[in-house]
Amino acid sequence: MNFIHTADWQLGKPFASVDDPDKAAKLRSERIEVIKRIGKIASELKTDFVLVAGDLFDSFTADKSTVSATCGALAEIKVPIIAIPGNHDHGGPGCLWEQDFFRSERESLASHLQVVLSPEPFNLDQATVFPCPLLRRHQSTDPTAWIRDFDFDSLTDTDKPRLVLAHGSVHGFDSSGSDEENETLGTPNLIALDRLPLNEIDYVALGDWHGTKEVSASAWYAGTPEIDRFPKGEENNPGNILHVSVERGQKPRVEVVPTTGLHWHSLEFNFVSDDDLGTLGETLSEATGDRVREDLIHLILNGSLGMNACNRLDQLLDTWESRLLRLKRKQEIRIAPTEEEIESLTQRAADPLIAQVALRLLEDSAKDGENSELTHVALRELYAALQ
């Protein structure tokens, strides 16, 4: 028996920080595309079903167009899909799962999708699923708690593998720490894995943590299949699905299958001299290869550059900005005018006024106070006015 374990599709995520509407649309559509890729893999691997461990949608009020697009894409997955609501698309009154529109679209486009809204065993032909749906964004109780008290002897199909489907944090892997909209104090939706009757369970399919993560031999975070944020730290490994083979009472076999379509990078670059500009260009090229509009880069720039170099850097980054889906800049470059630049500003017998003003700005910038950035901008403006 084998299946695909995936989670955190976050469909309908707006990517609003991407200014260019075309690029944002591309980012959104790529999340639909990955469903199709998953469908293709599921077919290739002849899996029995697909488990989605929460956060299929980015919000519990996903709009109609997202719902339709999603249901349409789900048609590409030819096996049953069992999903639970996560913290983003939690269940409960008024949530999309209960909206007529979702129901009718599911009915007509993706009837093989089962969204389980109640914590009770869900029987599939090949396995028994123990779903732990979230019915509110932040649940203070362990969503898997009900399984602890469950009477496993009551199960009729004793040889079917038992799969827990849950969404939340486990000790050491709490997704909120990496979330951009980190707003939680304490850890909600905390799953105590060690309190589960693990000998009665064959696999725990977890969602919420966007990187693929093996918590234990039989408990995995699938991570998001399509990366949706810049990576933080090396351990993070998003952009995959898990292909799981499992039998009742045996250790599961888990295979990580990459699925992401877009490439997210975090790069840090330190300028030592103006010549490093060339190196930066090379680094960026290296990261993206020949791809255009398939990469997103979070670029952290440090060090110092001359004014000319700064202008060149701006030009370089402008180019990259159009070439990339997103260039997020965190620029902490100190403008350090070169000797020549200083000379060209101050050694001006013919233009005493400019020279004097430049001299004062340079003096100010040397003070390195609060306004040093301002004086740098002013210097650059003056420098530009002279070109």
């Binding site: 509110r136 233009d351 005493p352």
Partner: protein, 901 residues
Amino acid sequence: MRLLSATVRRYRIHDETTVEFADSLNLIGGPNESGKSTLAEAIHRALFLKATIGGEVRSGMLSDRTPGHPEVDVRFEAAGKIWRIQKTFSGGSGKAILSEEGGPTLHDSEAESQLADLLQVEEIGGGRGVANRIASQWAHLWVWQGRGGDDPAAHATDQRDALLSRLQEEGGGAAMQSENDSRVAGEIGDRYAQYFTAGGKVKAGSLLQQAKESLERAETSFQGAKSAFSQLEEAHENFIDADVQLTSLNSSSEQIALQLATARAKQTKVSALRVVESKHEAYWKQAQSRHAEMASTLSRIQQLEREIELLFEASKTTKQEEQSLASSLSEARRRLAAAEAESEQADHALTTLRNRRDWIDAVLRQLRLKEELATLNASRKEAEKHKNSSRKIEAELAELPPIDEEAFREIQQLQADLSEAEAVLSAMATEVEVIQSAGKVKIDDRELEAGDSHIVDSETEIDSGNGLRLKITPGGGADLSSQRQHVSELRLKRENLFQSLGVKALNEAQSIAEKRRLLETKQNEFANQLATRDLGQILSQIEALEDALIAADAELNRRRALQKDVSDVTTIRQAESLRNEVEEELNPLETSAEGRKQARSDLAERVRQVENQMEAARGQTRKAENNLNAAQGEAKAIGEPLGRKEDRASDLARLSEATKEAEASYRNTLEALRELQPESIEADVARLERALENTRREISSAEGLRAVAGNTLMTSGSIDPSASLETAQARLQVSAERHSRIQRQAQAIALLHQYFGEEQQKLSDHFSRPLADKVSDYLKQIFGPSAEASVTLQDQAFTGWGMARDGTAFDFTSLSGGTREQVAAGVRLAMAELLAENHGGSLPIIFDDAFTHSDPERVFSLQRMLDLAARRGLQVIVLTSDPAAYSALGAHRIALSRKAN
């Protein structure tokens, strides 16, 4: 450049005037109309006006005295050489000749051109307004008459470039703002103006303002999206909370309803039992009362039977008593009647005796009255006899004069007084007799002859006639006439007394008085006898006795009628004896009558007592009989319904049994009720109903909350509030970054603009400072060491001319006319001094009556200023109509005289 000499020919007032100039100080003096100003104008025109000038300018130069063309010939030193310019202003054919000493000579246009070069001015052609344009040449050096107080700013501006160039040199080659500087500063200024207003505020419509507004809009929409999403989340939470609450409430409600139903069932059962209870209680009470009633009736019957028996006995006893009392009563009545009969006889005898005694008393009284009356009549006769004797004496006394003892003593006294007075009178009269006289003796006024005598009875003066005068006072001083008067009065008094008493002489009066005394003594004796038995009194006693006697007669008659035996009693003694006899017979009878009366009264009392006892005994008998009847009636009445007497005991026993049964039933019901605790059932029902009502209200409230939350949650699905929030947040961030970038740029531009402004000001100060210092040098000569000139270079123009003294700044235009002339002169001198460097170290400066508003003291110190200018290389030429005022200047003096017409 220095002027060396000048010759003017046929130029207005001047036929030909030549003036030689000293290098430094020149004073050209001359009265009005001596051609000072004309001379200055002529020299100026020689230097700056083209010789070919025509029109009004030329005609204005023509002399009205000497025909011919005006000519001016000026020698001067310039560019290290000596030059001579000769101009003949003959209109279009005018000639200009410039000759260099020891050098070539240039003519006309060449000369003019060279001359302009030497003077470093632009050539000025002819045409309209040429006079004014010419006048502006070297106007800073040429102080035309009446223009001494002009603002020096215009001159400074005219000479700006040359001045700046010089000042740059003066400032140690201070750099001058270049075109590039100006361009960049201008660009920065323009960009600043795009962002900010002149007041430094962010300009409306500027990029910065747009960014700010866009940031504010983004913030607003972010807050809106956030609030919308929060509402949704809140609604979701509220819905779940309400739902959970509802589940719990519904379960509570069901439980309460169940408890309520149980309680109500109990309540119904209690009600039913209560009905049974009251019924059983009624039965029991009924049985109890019936039993009690019968028992009580039976007991009453027994009691009545006992009472009847007793009453019957009692009635018998009272009847016997009644009979015994009846016999006692008849006995008592009989004894009373006997006593009354006996008493009647005795009383009759007593009455007869009493009447006899009363008759005797009446007889006795009559007899005694008769005796008393006889005595009184005898006394009356005696009294009447005395009274007649007394009346006779009284008539005798009345016939005698009323001379009593006192009147007789009065007569005696009067007689004695008269005898004494007559004796005194005769003793008093003194007889004077003239025995022998030598002279005529006069007594008073009467002349006495010898032997004459005179009775002197009053105070009399006697003149002897021979000088002897005597005064005689007879009677020791008493008056003889008054004594005579006294005697006659006494005599009259005695006569009057005799007359009033009816006597004639004293002895007659004496015998009458004696007779009267005898009569009065007799009268008194009778009066004393009459006083013991008053006649009136006796008469009234007789009258009273007669009345009493009449009454006693009537009494006697009445008494006598009651007497059977009337013996003849005529004396008192007979009557008294008879009375004693009757009295003795009466006394024992009186005593026995009292005893009988008492015995009769006792018997009557006894009869009354027995009668009362009798009455009481009869009442008791009646009462006993009544009671007996009543008891028998009652016994019959209450006994009848009980039926036969012999069944009564078993009937009572049956009733007692029934009562016991009813009580048992009642007690059983009570116990069943107690088991149900009816007292708390009511409270339970009330409590549970209240709880149910509360729970229902809470359910309704929770349902309301859930419905409200549900409504909020029912979105159209056309937008995703979560995505909207994320979008709004991202846009806010973009806006914030953009705003911050633009703001930073705007601030950088503002900083540049500020620095450019400040540096420009510094440069400007750098230039204006040496000029201000130079002006100050000159002004200190006049105004003292505290004087400081001020001037600034702004936008390539010298402005802000002014002077400060003792720390107080004055703008040029605010200065007085005289001071303005002096300050303007200082500025001109300073400029000339600066510019002189371009002209070989010297320049002429002409003051044509330039200090007309300055007072003489100022003119005096002004000379120090002019001297300083000269010392610094300037050629100072002062034209004045008052050369004496400048005598201290130590100048080369040139005198012009008034031109004769």
